[in-house]
Each structure stands twice: as structure tokens, then as C-alpha cells.
């Protein structure tokens, strides 16, 4: 080659052939040469990947340089020749290098070349597995390379048959390798996974032996976590090889039975006898034959204390639970039939055991046994939660018949769950449930989510007396005080004036990851059910909580995200993630439609504006998005259908939740929850409703809605002051009771907002908005009024207004709740 035969640029095809040649010459060992430094190989691989040296793909359509292509082709030929030579070398290091590079070739080479020569490569590789090679390195590399070869092969739909017949040859040697006790097994398991996922039918003949091998390995207690995951995946993919619905169900049934049998032994004395019996009856209904034992291991084998040391029970259970959840996650080509109830029972059974011994019974287990069980329980709980997640995710709408069961389980478990990892999982599960089952679920679990999340997010509550001054949430939430506005005021003062809080936040016992999970759950709750009619009780609480948390999170400046990212591959969530999560939740709280304008809009906007300046971070990206979204809220494009004026049962500043919550959500009065709005007349007086139906209609026709308002007023009375008589609650709220300055403050704020709305501010609209303001304030006042049992004076004013407006039909129609309106004169 001429010394001055230069190439054009780094894109030139000529370069590839030349580069490849020199790689072969200089870096790849041959017959005589030693493999000097294994690091050289990784240089070779990176060169091949960057320059696509063996892809034989032309960038431009340069047909003219046929010669170059030929050159390249011959270079690749010699590359492969060299690799095959290396792979047959009896020096283990050379052999290893050849096999590994062959794997890279399988991934990188052109389709034509691959299809033409893969079977040769396969034979070569197979010869190292059968009989197995001496070196572990060679065996491991061989497994990985074959796995890549099969992966590539699976990309060609018309090669299915060939692939299957090739893969079938592998099954026996792989199963044999798996039984070995060394690191070889790991590679073999991965290979089995690949075979099962791409060419499942090749395992069909060896189905039972494969099942036995997997299960034996799984239960041996000698696998690391990674290996367990792979084994579980193998087991869950195994039914695919038969490819019918029954084999999946059978496998699931076998696993469930095996777990429950093991649990019977392990949890003896920790749970009640009835649970055991019930679980078994649900799995094997009386009169039916139990399925054949899992992996051919009879029940005696599994739970035989003589042959299997007792301490292996718990890890086996965990492994099998993992299989259960993996089976739910894996996709199947046919419709499968998931035994939801058995799975829920199993998860419930595990989750309800916390290792405590029942007091009444004479302890039938030693302290050692208990210790052994408790050590493994968190893992089992975690897997059980995975199972629940899997069920919720897969069954989706079919879960409705079981939803109540799950909800009860989750609310119960939420109380007991203390481990951070587990709490994160519960939050994730709750999130899934909210997403998949919609609004219906929110009213069932909203209270639980909110109370748990606020406990986790309550930055100072857990610290006790450690920093008494910094208790943001304590001041705002601890004792329900009658003066709501004042408390809000307090809060802003403390949060702005106290600098020690940031540090106290960092010392918080609830780890950041848990708090992020809690924030995410709240975000989902607001997204799915924020505006639901029954959200009044928790909604205001969440709004306060979120603005507090995000203000605190972002007070100490913005965390740099990338600082440690490269040092720790699977690093824990950072402070920046927490900031992001809190801002996300805050956005949801601002956007989710509530009864009133979002009370903390200004604070929120300020946070987002500040965050947006941190360009280049995720926080900034999100803040920009948040500001864009909020723009619609600030400048509504259309008039709302929902009249905000009718929202008088919502506390204006939203902090008197304790009061509201206690009243509306106490167990005894539960039905109030479901009787919002018009249905007040539903259950108790079904007849009367029918009677005045016509009058109602007529009334509707001319615009006002007396029935509605009447009912709503009744409701308010019931909610605010149970002992008060309905008579007291005449339409208008009491103007004379106006608490000094706060109402006005709100009024001013609201009016400002009105003027912000650019278009459509004709007279009527303005009236409308003012009405809304007055009513909103009035609602607040009414609460106070209701409690102090004197609310009559406002009524005349209300009526007056009604008459004043009553002559205009159109207007009346738009303000259905007109009777609640308080005359403006009262306010000023």
C-alpha cells in the first residue's frame, strides 16, 4: 500500500476496510501471538462500534467504488476467519477473545452475512458447551454470545423454524450447566431466558426437566438477587413454550400452592388457623384434585424439615413470591386467566403477618425462628406489594369486583408499614390504583393517602422538640382553630422568617425517596380526583401541604442535579428530585379544579418563575411547562360552565379542614359523603321527590332553581353545625358577623383577578364575578355564623337582591344560586 494513498475523510468507506485490517493485524492475536492486554479488545470493540467497521453498509449510494466494497468485504471475511480461528484455539484466553468478538459480530454485521453464516458460528459455539469447556470465562462468554446470536436471529420472522431447531440443541447442555454450582449457572440462566423468550417452542420437549431445574435452583437458597430474578423470569416464560392458556394457569396454581404450603409451616403461630384453612380451601376447592407439585418436588420435598434446613423456608417463599409477580408482568401470546382472588388472598396473608406473636397463645416458636422469619419478612412484603401492583396493572377494569378487597388491604397495611422501601411501594400501588380505577377510588382512599402523605411530608412533626420554631405544619394543622386566615398568615411568616428549617428538613427521618413517593401519590390523587365533589375535606389540606412543602424544598436554592450522577450508577434520588416532585405536585394542586380559585396561585407562580431561571436543569424545564399550563388558568379562553358562586360549602382559605373533616368524614355520618348536592332528597324521602317533580320543572323553566339551593343550604347547616335547626339557615349569610379584615382582603384579591381577565368584561360578567366573590366569602362567613346560631339578618338582603335581579330572566338563568348572593353593600 502506498504511503501516500490518503483517504478523503473519516466518512470514507476506504477507511473502514483499512482500519479493520490494521485492527486485525495489530490488536487481534493470532496463532503465534499472545493476547497481550485484554484492554486492547475493548478498544477494538469500541472502534468497531463507532466506525461500524463490519456493518458493510454504505452511507451514500456510491456504486462506483466497487473495488472499495470488495476490499471491505474481504477485510470482514478475514476478520471472521480470524475470530473463528481464535475460537477454536486451545488457549483459553484466545478462545475467550474469539468468542466474545464473535458475539459483537453477531450484533454488528450485515444481515446477509449473518444469515449466511450464523449456523457455522452456532456450531462452533455449541462445541464449547457440549462438552462444556474448562474455563469459566469461556463458558460464560459462550452463553452470552449464543444469546446474542439468538436475539439477532429472532429479528428475522422467516427464520423462526431454523432458530427453534438450533435452540432445541441448546436446551440440554444449558440445563446441565444450570445445575452446576458455580458462576456458570448465571450465564446459562440468561441464555435460557433468551431461548424462552424468542424461541419458546424449542423447550417444549424438555418442559418438565426445565421446570424441575429452575425450581430446584430457585429453592436452593444459593442464588444472588440478580440470579433469582432471572430464574423467576425463566419460570414465568416457561408456559410460553407450550403456548396455551392452561399451562400458564397450571403454573400459577402450582406456584400459589407451593407458597401457601410453605407459609403454612413458616407462619405457624404467627397467624390464625382460620387464615391457613381459608387459603388452602380457596386454592384447592373441596372435591378437586390439587395440581401436580411444582417442579416435580412433592409437598414432602418442599417442606420436609429433614431434608431441607428450616432456614431455607423463608428465602424459598420469597423466591416463589417473586415468581408470582414476574408471571403477572410477563406478556403471553394467548389470553390468560389470572386468579385474582387467590393472588389477593396470598398477598394479604403475607402482608398481614408482621412477625408479632399473638398474646393469648403459648408461643410455639423459638426466638430464633421468629428472628429468622422477621429477617425475611420485609422482602416478602415487598414482593407481595409487587404482586398487588401486577394485579392492578394487568386486570385494570376487571378489578372492580375486587377493588374493595384491595382497598381494605392497602388502607390496613398503610397503618402498619414503616420501612421506607415498603412505603414507597405502597405509594406506587396507590398511584396505580388511582390511575387504573379512576374517580371512583379516590373517595375511598383519599383520606388515607392524605393522612399518610402528610405524616411523611410533615418535615418537623417527626422531630418532636428538636426544632420548635420551625414547625410549619404544626402551626397550620395541629389544632383546629376557628380563625383560619390568621393561621395562613402565621404560616407565611414562619416559612419566610425561619432559616433553620432547611436544615431541619434535611434531618427529617422520612427519607427523600419516601417523600418523593408521597408527593407523587398526592399528585396523582389531585390529577384523578382533585375536583371530585367529596374532595372538600382533604383538598384544602393537600393544597396547604403542597405549597408548604414546595416552598420549603425550594427555599435553599436549587440543587445541582448532575453532581454525583456519574459516581453512583444507581444513586438514590437527590434533593433536586425532591424539588422537582414537589413542584409537580404543586402544579397539580393549582390546576386541579377545586371549589374556588387556587388559593396559593401567586406563591406557586413565583416558585415556578424562580425555578425557570435555572436553565439546563430538569426543574427549569418543568417550571417552563408549568407556567405554560398555568397561563390557561390565568387567562381562561372560555367562560366556565361551573358557577363558582355555588361553592359556598368550601372554606375560603381552606385551612379549617379539621373541622370539616371531622364532621363530614366521621364514620357515623358516612352517608353524607355520598349525598352531595341534589341527592339529599334521595334515600330518605324517595316519595316526596316524585311529588313535586312537576313544580321543580316549572321552576327550572323560568330560571331559578329553588330546590337545589334549598337542599344545598340544608346540607351546609348539617355540615357546619349539626345541632342547629334547619330554620336558622335562611338563604343569605350574615353580614353582621363579618370577621373584620380578612373577608375584605379576599374580596380585593378576587376583584383584582377579575380585572385581569382581558375580554368579555361586559357588565353582566362583572356582576357575575362579584357575585361569585361575595358568595365565596359568604360561604366562609356562614360557617362562623352557623356556629354562633344567629344567621337571620342576611336573609332580607338576599331576597332583595333576588327581586332586583328577578325581572331579568336571562340573568337568573346564569346565576342559579342567586339566593346565596350577599349584597355588595353589606361588604363595603
Amino acid at each position: 500500500m502506498a504511503a501516500f494513498d490518503h483517504i478523503q475523510s473519516m466518512n470514507d468507506v476506504a477507511l473502514k476496510a483499512r482500519l479493520l485490517r490494521s485492527l486485525i493485524k495489530e490488536r487481534i492475536p493470532d496463532e503465534k501471538q499472545q493476547l497481550r492486554n485484554p484492554l486492547e479488545l475493548s478498544h477494538v470493540v469500541s472502534a468497531i462500534k463507532t466506525h461500524q467497521l463490519i456493518s458493510e453498509r454504505l452511507l451514500q449510494s456510491d456504486d462506483d467504488n466497487k473495488k472499495l466494497i470488495e476490499k471491505w468485504k474481504s477485510a470482514v471475511d478475514s476478520w471472521i476467519e480470524r475470530l473463528l480461528l481464535l475460537a477454536s484455539s486451545n488457549m483459553p484466553d484466545k478462545c475467550w477473545a474469539g468468542i466474545s468478538l464473535l458475539g459483537v459480530t453477531c450484533e454488528e454485521c450485515s444481515s446477509e452475512r449473518f444469515l449466511a453464516s450464523y449456523s457455522v458460528w452456532f456450531q462452533k459455539l455449541l462445541s464449547h458447551l457440549q462438552p462444556p469447556a474448562e474455563s469459566h470465562f469461556v463458558k460464560a462468554a459462550c452463553c452470552v454470545t449464543i444469546s446474542d446470536l439468538l436475539t439477532r436471529l429472532s429479528g428475522y420472522p422467516n427464520m423462526k423454524k431454523d432458530g427453534t431447531s438450533h435452540a432445541a440443541k441448546l436446551v440440554q447442555p444449558v440445563l446441565k450447566l444450570m445445575q452446576e454450582d458455580s458462576s456458570d449457572a448465571e450465564g446459562a440462566v440468561s441464555l435460557l431466558c433468551t431461548i424462552l423468550s424468542f424461541f419458546p417452542s424449542s423447550v417444549q420437549k424438555n418442559y418438565d426437566s426445565a421446570e424441575a431445574a429452575i425450581v430446584t435452583k430457585l429453592m436452593s437458597g444459593k442464588c444472588n438477587a440478580n440470579m433469582l430474578k432471572k430464574l423467576a423470569l425463566c419460570l414465568s416464560l416457561l408456559p410460553k413454550s407450550r403456548g396455551d392458556e392452561d399451562s400458564w394457569s397450571l403454573m400459577m396454581q402450582k406456584i400459589l400452592l407451593a407458597i401457601n404450603l410453605l407459609l403454612n409451616d413458616s407462619f405457624q403461630g404467627l397467624e390464625e388457623e382460620t387464615t391457613t384453612k381459608e387459603a388452602m380451601r380457596a386454592l384447592v376447592p373441596p372435591g378437586k384434585d390439587p395440581p401436580p407439585p411444582l417442579g416435580g418436588l412433592t409437598i414432602l420435598d418442599i417442606s420436609n424439615k429433614a431434608t431441607r434446613p428450616e432456614r431455607l423456608f423463608m428465602p424459598s417463599i420469597s423466591a416463589l413470591l417473586l415468581c408470582c409477580s414476574t408471571m403477572l408482568k410477563t406478556s403471553y401470546p394467548v389470553q390468560i386467566n389470572v386468579p385474582v382472588r387467590s393472588l389477593l388472598m396470598l398477598a394479604g396473608r403475607v402482608l398481614m403477618v408482621d412477625g408479632s406473636l399473638p398474646h393469648t397463645l403459648y408461643p410455639i416458636m423459638t426466638a430464633m425462628q421468629q428472628e429468622c422469619i422477621c429477617a425475611e419478612l420485609p422482602l416478602q412484603h415487598s414482593y407481595s406489594l409487587d404482586i398487588l401492583c401486577g394485579v392492578v396493572k394487568e386486570a385494570r377494569s376487571q378489578l372492580f369486583p375486587h377493588a374493595a378487597h384491595i382497598i381494605r388491604l392497602v388502607t390496613e397495611y398503610f397503618k402498619r408499614c414503616a420501612f421506607p422501601e415498603l412505603r414507597i411501594k405502597v405509594y406506587a400501588l396507590v398511584k396505580l390504583m388511582l390511575m387504573s380505577m379512576g374517580v371512583g377510588v379516590t373517595m375511598y382512599i383519599a383520606e388515607d393517602i392524605v393522612s399518610n402523605a402528610s405524616a411523611d411530608l410533615d418535615s418537623v412533626g417527626d422531630l418532636g422538640g428538636e426544632s420548635s420554631s420551625g414547625s410549619v405544619l404544626k402551626t397550620s394543622e395541629a389544632v383546629p382553630q376557628p380563625m383560619q386566615k390568621k393561621r395562613k398568615h402565621d404560616m407565611t411568616i414562619t416559612s419566610s422568617g425561619n432559616q433553620s428549617q432547611t436544615t431541619s428538613l434535611h434531618n427529617n427521618p422520612a427519607p427523600i425517596s419516601v417523600r418523593i413517593a408521597a408527593l407523587e401519590a398526592l399528585e396523582t390523587l389531585l390529577t384523578v380526583g382533585g375536583g371530585a365533589s367529596r374532595s372538600g375535606g382533604w383538598r384544602s389540606k393537600v393544597d396547604v401541604l403542597l405549597i408548604t412543602v414546595s416552598t420549603d424544598a425550594c427555599k435553599g436554592g436549587w440543587a445541582k442535579q448532575e453532581t454525583y450522577a456519574y459516581t453512583l450508577p444507581d444513586s438514590k434520588p437527590s434533593w433536586a428530585d425532591f424539588q422537582l416532585a414537589s413542584l409537580r405536585a404543586l402544579l397539580a394542586s393549582l390546576l386541579s379544579p377545586g371549589r374556588i380559585r387556587p388559593p396559593y396561585l401567586a406563591e406557586g407562580l413565583e416558585l415556578f418563575r424562580r425555578g425557570m431561571r435555572e436553565t439546563g436543569t430538569k426543574v427549569a424545564d418543568f417550571c417552563a411547562h408549568a407556567l405554560l399550563t398555568l397561563e390557561v388558568l390565568i387567562h381562561p379562553r372560555t367562560l366556565p360552565l361551573i358557577d363558582i358562586a355555588s361553592s359556598f360549602e368550601y372554606p375560603v382559605n381552606g385551612v379549617n379542614d379539621g373541622f370539616m373533616g371531622n364532621d363530614t368524614y366521621s364514620g357515623a355520618k358516612k352517608h353524607h359523603l355520598y349525598s352531595g348536592g341534589t341527592s339529599r332528597n334521595g334515600p330518605e324521602y324517595p316519595e316526596s321527590e316524585e311529588d313535586d317533580l312537576y313544580e321543580k320543572w316549572v321552576n327550572d323553566g323560568d330560571g331559578s332553581n329553588p330546590p337545589v339551593t334549598e337542599q344545598e343550604n340544608n346540607m351546609v347547616v348539617e355540615k357546619t353545625s349539626p345541632p342547629a335547626e334547619p330554620l336558622v339557615s335562611i338563604e343569605g349569610p350574615s353580614g353582621s358577623k363579618a370577621p373584620e379584615d380578612k373577608g375584605k382582603g379576599i374580596l380585593v384579591e378576587e376583584v383584582d383577578k377579575v380585572s385581569e381577565i382581558p375580554s368579555q368584561t361586559d357588565d353582566r360578567h362583572a356582576t357575575d364575578m362579584e357575585t361569585e366573590v361575595a358568595a365565596a366569602t359568604g360561604g366562609d362567613l356562614e360557617m362562623a355564623a352557623g356556629r354562633s346560631f344567629a344567621a337571620v339578618s342576611g336573609s332580607e338582603g338576599g331576597k332583595e337582591l333576588m327581586f332586583a335581579l328577578g325581572d331579568d330572566d336571562k340573568l337568573m338563568d346564569e346565576i342559579p344560586d342567586i339566593v346565596d348572593v350577599e349584597p355588595d353593600s353589606d361588604e363595603e
Partner: protein
Amino acid sequence: MEDEVVIASSSTEAGIGCWHLRSGAEHLRYRSCASPSHGLVSVAGRFLVSSQLRDSSSGSVLSWSWNKPQIEVKSFPAEAINPLACNSDGTYIVGGGVSGDIYLWEVATGRLLKKWHGHYRAVTCLVFSNDQSLLISGAEDGSVRVWSLLMIFDEERQQRSGHLYEYSFSEHALPVTDIVTGYGGCNAIIISASQDRTCKVWSLARGTLLRNIVFPSMIDAIALDPGEHVFYAGGRDGKIYIAELNAQGTSNNNYGLHIIGTLSDQGKGICSLAFALDGSQLVAGSEDGMVRVWDTKTHNIIRVFKHAKSICFFPNLLVLVSSGPVNNVLVIRQPPALYPRTAANNQGSMARRHVPLPPPLEKYTSIDEHSELNAFITPQPNCDRLYDATYTTVHSMNNQINELQHGSSGASEMEMERLKLDCKRSMQMVEQWKKMYENLHQFCVGELLNGEADDANLTLTS
């Protein structure tokens, strides 16, 4: 753009018509169906189900698979069923009986999961809310009720709350004729139409009446614009009224407050309305047996389908029998089974594999406390499989190189193996050299001796 089909049925036995929306070509006509209003549903695009008017004593619900005109499955519920609804997953079918009972069946097994008394008189319409967790029903007694599926299945909570429904709206004075729900989970609106010539807009979040709109005519069908700025109400006078939702009401027209216009072609009464997926084509089924497609932007009719059945009495005379009112129209994505056989697309060929329809709906429930309620998970077509194939050689190779660099048992074992072999080879080498040396030695000695002898001989001879 995805292909859509219009499906229509009427109250007389004209079958179910099925047309391609864009081309207007008619697909199969599914035979012998006389459906009540709201009695036709497509179960998640998998097959068609319709309740029937005929049997007055006991109900009848029929199903058709897409590629056969004949009835495939017949079910006979305990009473006549009027409206049917199906959730978007296609897991449940809900039917409303003439007695006011509501039935909930599981599609996969046909089991009657729940039955409850919903209304005092016959149920007329059933709709699932946008997030599929609520069911909204309307009845002849004028009431509109909202049910939470969760509550329906949770007996414990039912006992505590005393009633099943979430809301019960009873402002309509006459039978409810149609219900639609809008976008959004809990903040959605419900619009109900009634024979009392009103449409009422309800808030799902608060359970209150938001707006009451009085129309000049009875409204039998409504369709909500996907953007929810207007809704369309089909009247018995043949006009489709356009009522606005989020603008300030003005009554500067002849129709009444909130009504801003009409779509009209002097036809007969409108019995059913449906929007195409693009949100601008409105499909209207009419009393005269026609299905008209309106463009809501231009207010023009862009297509007319004849649902009327043509019956051939004589070999050369085609008699057009006027069909009954088209009281059901649906617009759905074209099911894969309806793609022509010649199409080379994968979609069509996949659907060719005949999937049998699920079993008929049960008459009485067979569910007891021990029966296992399983979930059926249908396989998802995983189109991304080719793209996320992962290759692991490079990763594992780098790991192994790492091990070699830093030394590990595997690496040292390989090293040892190599050294052993090296050693063996060296030994062989040594042996070889020894041998060579030996040979050379012998040779030299021989040479030497021979040479000496020769020399001696030479000297001797010389």
C-alpha cells in the same frame, strides 16, 4: 388517518348496517336485528351486541362477530333489556331492563356479576363516564343516576351508605331520552335530554345542575362536541340544534337561550347522533331510515347512507321498504376483521384467525361467595419487540476484561489455565530441544568418532 365505520340499526328488522365513513362503501349487513334506542354497542371493537325489541316476555340480546352476517350468540336475560353499554376495555356489558333493574355482565364468561334496582321505571339510557369508573343511567321516570362501579361491587360499603347511587338527579319531568358525558374524570359534565323538551347539563364533580336549556322540540339524541364548546341535540322536528356550552347565553335568535343554530335538511326526526373521531363529522340517524353525515364546520351534508332494507319481490323489481327510524348510530375505528382479505397488511391477517365470541350472557347469576372471579388478560400486540432487542456481549465482555485487569477467581483461573498450557508447551519445547541436542550430540560424537577413525584410517593407509 384511521379508517372508521358507521354502524346503524333501527327498530324494525332491517339488520345492522355498516359503512365505511370515508368511502361510503357498505360492509356486511348483520341480519335480524331490531334494536331499541341505545341498544347497540360494539364491545371494544371486538364484536357487536344488540338488545332486541321483539320478545316482550323475556329479553333477548344478540351478538354478531364482524365477519359473519348471521347471529352468532343469543342470550336471554330475565327481562327485556333496552339500553346496553360497554366499558372501553370491553370487560363489562351493562343492560337496563324495563323494570328499572340494571344488569352487569362480565363479557369474558357471560356471568351476571351484579343486578340492582336502579330506577322506578324502565331504564332508557346507560353510559360509562370518561374514566370508566362511573355509570350513568337515565330512565322513563325522568331520573338520571350516577353509579360508582366500585360501590356496586362493595357490599360492605353499600350497607353503610344506605343507597347505591352517587347522585340521583330528578329534575327531568318526562322520560330521559339520551345522556352523554364529557371529557375528564371527576370534573366531567353530563348532558341529559328528555321528552320534556329540555337538555340539562350536570356537573359530575358537584352533583348539581349547571344549565337547563329548553328546546322548541323534543330531543331524542345528543352528541357532545369533543372540544365541548357546543353540543348537538337532534329534535323530533328533524332539526339538529346547536347549543353552546361555555359562552355567555344570548337569545338573539328564534330558538331560545343558549341555542345558537341548527343543522337542518327538512328531513324527519333525528333519532340518534354520533361524532366521528375527527370531531367534525356528525353522523345522524333519522326517522326516515337514513343516516346522514354532516360536516359541522360547513353545516353541509357530506354523505347519506340508506339504512332501509331492499327486498327483492320480483326478479326485476327492487322494492325499497322504508325502514324504521335509525335509532342507533355508532362510529368506531374499523375493526381489523373488516379490512379486505387482499390487503397485505398484517392487521387484517392477524384478525383472520377466528376468535370465538364469548359465551352468552347469563339469565340468573351463578356467582356465589366461592366462585373465583378471574381476570382475563388478552395478549397485547408487542410491536416494539424488534427495536428493544438487547445485546449483552459487549457489556459482559467489558465486565470480563475488568475482571482480567483487576484479577478475580475467574480471571486467575483462566490465567492459570493459560500458564499451564504455556508450561506444557514449554516442557514439550524443552523435551524437543533436549532431543535435538541429544541427536546433535550423538551425531557429533559419531561424526567425531567416525572422523577420527577415518583420520586414523587415512594415516594408516597413507
